[in-house]
């Protein structure tokens, strides 16, 4: 069981990394606004969307 003496510090090191990542995220404002980014991710880039739509249906949009 002496592997413990290596495994526990390794595990704690990983925890420290995770906590550091979390602290960085919190400080750079990742948790400031929890509603908008979720919505933003749903919107595709307009240029791509247009290409896909035209290719699929071949219809022309009124100008």
């Amino acid at each position: 069981m002496s592997v413990m003496y290596v495994l526990v510090p390794v595990a704690l090191l990983l925890v420290a990394l995770a906590v550091a990542a979390y602290a960085w995220a919190a400080r750079s404002g990742a948790f400031d606004d929890l509603d908008t980014p979720a919505v933003r991710a749903l919107h595709d880039d307009p240029a791509e969307a247009r290409v896909v739509r035209r290719g699929a249906s071949g219809e022309q949009r009124p100008r």
């Binding site: 704690l12 602290a23 404002g29 908008t36 919505v39 933003r40 749903l42 919107h43 247009r50």
Partner: protein, 814 residues
């Protein structure tokens, strides 16, 4: 109609169904727009938005699946004040690379697709680098190059799409709060990670009791827990020690004292036992405690902040621009930039931005927010008008004599700050309990030590420490913040914005209720209460009043929403007199008795008697013959009597404190069943403040008001309640802001506060029972860290569940 049909504008059979607007999808009214392709749009706003989006290649907007159409209602303003140096000083900050940043509150943000639009459309303008919308609060952050693009252009662009921008007034405070929030989140995260890992090690140690564990491994795990719990105490847990220390230095006790005692005792004894390698360690309990308590505090902070936020957003939406006239041109300027000597135009319905002298125009000014007087005052060139009053009748031109701080409102606001500082502090229930709690725990610990010194001296110290740890008021410290945060959240959904937990505790006890009259007990505007004439005339009256912004005209329109107004021609208004014109070929006159009498064929025939109790009377004449009389009053709010009865049943004593004439106040008091002694009229803002101060000596005072004249009294009172539609000053100083019309929310607040305190007391009782149980076990020497580790979360979870499931502000009105 689907989104696809909306953007293609292709409807299968236009004749068969109503055409939907290409932009918003609402039905298009027949042939009302003078634009090409008029059948495709419901309004000019939508047509302009559609054109804008198509020219920019942003048609993709119409394909967004979650888009919810809504007709575009731009304000059409020029936003010239956004380019003013004073505006930039107030609302614009410098950013990297010569760019500048400003924050606006947007009107009309209603669906997720708004994010897409608001973040793209400003970028179409050269010089705009970034636009970021926060959906929850409708705040957009604009980063742009002031050298390349005036800010007003960006504002006009957003306004054209129906998102009317207003400068966000809380930007500087917001940045500070955001930093605090981030720090708190980091602390909670660190505390949580440490607690979780200490717990895992603790599970290994507890398992070791039942099976076999080598002493070397056990020692190793104990040292690992010590290494993990030390940073938790030193950083996230530091706040509790600091709080306890500052309380002790002021020779008071708060909740932090018993918490720090338990944390300190558990940690110190655990560390010692680790070093000497015998006896219990309490690290899992200590680490979990820090984590849970931080979460409880953060929850309360967030709920209170949400209430403050909503009030601040409302504050931002109230316009603060004045129309300054220079020669023949008029531009809008932020109120803060007004200087004595400038000339401002005040449109009907607008607030007057500064103290000054009327140089042109005759109108009536509503001073109710400033003085409490319900009856508007007629003004003519040469008269003085004050900031914070509202122009009722017709346009005025005013020369500014005093602006900003120097105005009467400004002086009152300084009074408000002083008043807020003089308010008596409140000892929160939980803090009050902590004194007795600390004393009791120390006494029990001493008793445990004394008893066990006789029985088993080796174990005496450990048992006493175990008692200190197990009686840590974790549940007690969670009980209040969680119940308060849940209550504030529920209240906000009912339109009651509570800015702090204190207000709830104070409102729960019956106290003296001081009520402003105008705008609080009454509607704050003239209401038609008496109509003595044929119904047929009503259409003709409305036809005339349609052309007027006068308060009485609005009262007529509000009283008869269903009456079809006729059309009037040759309409002529006389300030302080009335309005006349031709309706259906007949000459109709509406106005004061004097004004109408002068236009009667037989003036003597009209009876001089009017309704004595009415505040304002209007006569209506058709072709020189008196046909109707109308009586107006600042009518009592529909729910005032009922709400006051509820409040009285809860034990509140009510008194009216008004700036209006004593006669008018007495009438309102009588209709509410108050004695004349309980109704005081003619009070200045200073009188109101003095009255609150005097009453505060005998107990808590709740001040309810809506005007600038109430602001100081509201700030000084134990609980200050601001009413919807009131002055900005009220919004800022009130502890509770009622964003729903009427007095019913006030009664709801009192009942809800009482229910909240009941939940808090129940929670406190539960946690005390748990503490007694723990103390009993510890004194009997039966407690060990495992029992403590199980007891502690059980009581905390019970408290959390009770707070979370309680309905303190029920959704349906009682």
């Amino acid at each position: 109609m689907t989104a696809t049909e909306a953007w293609t504008g292709v409807v299968a059979h236009p004749a068969a169904r109503a055409t939907a607007c290409r932009h918003c999808g609402e039905p298009v009214p027949r042939g009302s727009l003078g634009v090409p392709d008029a059948s495709a749009f419901c309004c000019h706003g939508c047509a302009a938005s559609w054109t804008l989006l198509h020219e920019a290649g942003l048609e993709h907007f119409y394909d967004l699946p979650e888009r919810r159409g809504r007709a575009v209602r731009p304000s059409g303003r020029g936003f010239e004040e956004f380019d003013h140096a004073a505006f930039h000083r107030l609302h614009v900050r410098a950013a990297d690379g010569g760019l500048a940043v400003t924050e606006w509150v947007l009107e009309g943000v209603h669906c997720p697709s708004c994010v897409w639009l608001v973040e793209r459309v400003p970028l179409l303008l050269a010089g705009v680098h970034r636009a970021e919308l926060e959906l929850g609060r409708s705040i957009v952050r604009i980063e742009w190059d002031p050298a390349e693009q005036p800010l007003s252009a960006v504002a006009r662009q957003l306004d054209a799409l129906g998102y009317t921008p207003h400068p966000f007034r809380g930007a500087s405070v917001d940045a500070v709060r955001r930093r605090e929030d981030r720090l708190m989140l980091t602390r909670i995260g660190v505390a949580g990670a440490l607690a979780g890992n200490v717990m895992m090690v603790a599970v290994a140690l507890y398992a070791g009791w039942f099976g076999h564990m080598e002493p070397a491994h056990e020692r190793y795990f104990r040292w690992v827990s010590l290494a993990l719990v030390t940073p938790a105490i030193v950083w996230p847990g530091r706040g509790f020690f600091q709080g306890a220390w500052s309380a002790l230095r002021q020779r008071t006790l708060n909740m932090d004292v018993p918490i720090a005692l338990a944390l300190g005792a558990g940690y110190a004894r655990g560390a010692w036992n680790t070093v000497v390698d015998s006896g219990p360690i309490y690290f899992d309990g200590v680490a979990t405690l820090i984590f849970l308590l931080l979460i409880g505090r953060f929850a309360q902070q967030r709920a209170q902040r949400a209430a403050v936020d909503s009030a601040e957003l409302l504050h931002s939406l109230s316009p603060a621009v004045a129309r300054v006239r220079e020669g023949e041109t008029v531009h809008e300027v932020p109120v803060e930039a007004l200087l004595p000597g400038m000339t401002i135009d005040v449109r009907p319905g607008d607030a007057i931005a500064a103290d000054g002298e009327v140089v042109e125009g005759c109108s009536e000014v509503d001073r109710s927010l400033l003085t409490g007087e319900a009856r508007p005052e007629a003004v003519a060139p040469g008269d003085r008008v004050h900031a914070g009053t509202i122009n009722g009748g017709s346009p005025l031109r005013v020369r500014v004599e005093q602006a900003g701080e120097a105005t009467r409102v400004g002086r009152l606001m300084r009074e408000v700050e002083h008043a807020a500082a003089r308010r008596a502090p409140l000892v929160l229930l939980a803090d009050r309990l902590s004194g007795a709690f600390v004393g009791g725990v120390l006494l029990l610990a001493a008793a445990t030590f004394a008893i066990w010194s006789r029985l088993d001296p080796a174990m005496a110290f450990d048992h006493a420490i175990a008692l200190l740890v197990v009686t840590c008021p974790c549940a007690l410290a969670l009980a209040t913040p969680l119940a308060v945060s849940v209550a504030i959240g529920q209240a906000a959904r009912r339109g009651i914005l509570v800015k702090g937990g204190e207000a709830l505790q104070r409102m729960a006890r019956p106290s003296l209720l001081l009520l402003d009259k105008t705008g609080t007990l009454t509607e704050g505007r003239a209401t038609l209460v008496h109509w003595d004439g044929p119904d047929a005339v009503r259409g003709a009256v409305l036809a005339l009043e349609h052309h007027s912004q006068h308060p009485l005209a609005r009262a007529f329109r509000a009283a008869w929403p269903d009456v079809e107004p006729g059309s009037a021609s040759e309409v002529r208004q006389t300030a302080g007199g009335g309005i006349e014109g031709l309706v259906g070929g007949r000459r109709v006159t509406v106005g004061t008795p004097t004004f109408v009498r002068a236009r009667l064929a037989e003036p003597e025939s009209a009876s001089p008697v009017s309704y004595a109790a009415m505040e304002t009377v209007a006569w209506v004449a058709v072709d020189g013959e008196l046909v109707a009389r109308a009586g107006f009053e600042d009518a009592l709010r529909g729910d005032a009597a009922e709400s006051l009865a509820v409040l009285r049943a809860l034990g509140f004593r009510a008194r009216i404190l008004s700036g209006d004439a004593p006669g008018a106040v007495a009438r309102v008091a009588a209709s509410l069943g108050l004695t004349p002694e309980e109704a005081q009229g003619g009070r200045t803002p200073e009188d109101k403040l003095a009255a609150v101060e005097a009453a505060s000596a005998d107990g808590d005072v709740v001040m309810v008001g809506d005007g600038v004249n109430d602001a100081a009294a509201i700030a000084r009172a134990g609980v200050g309640v601001g009413m919807r539609g009131g002055a900005e000053a009220c919004l800022a100083t009130a502890d509770v802001f009622l964003s729903r019309e009427g007095l019913a929310p006030l009664a709801e607040l009192a009942a809800g506060a009482r229910r909240t305190m009941r939940v808090i007391r129940l929670n406190i009782a539960i946690s005390l029972v748990y503490n007694l149980l723990g103390a009993g076990l510890a004194m009997a020497g039966r407690i060990d860290p495992l029992v403590a580790a199980i007891l502690m979360p059980v009581s905390s979870i019970a408290v959390v569940l009770i707070a979370w499931r309680s309905r303190m502000f029920p959704a349906e009105a009682r």
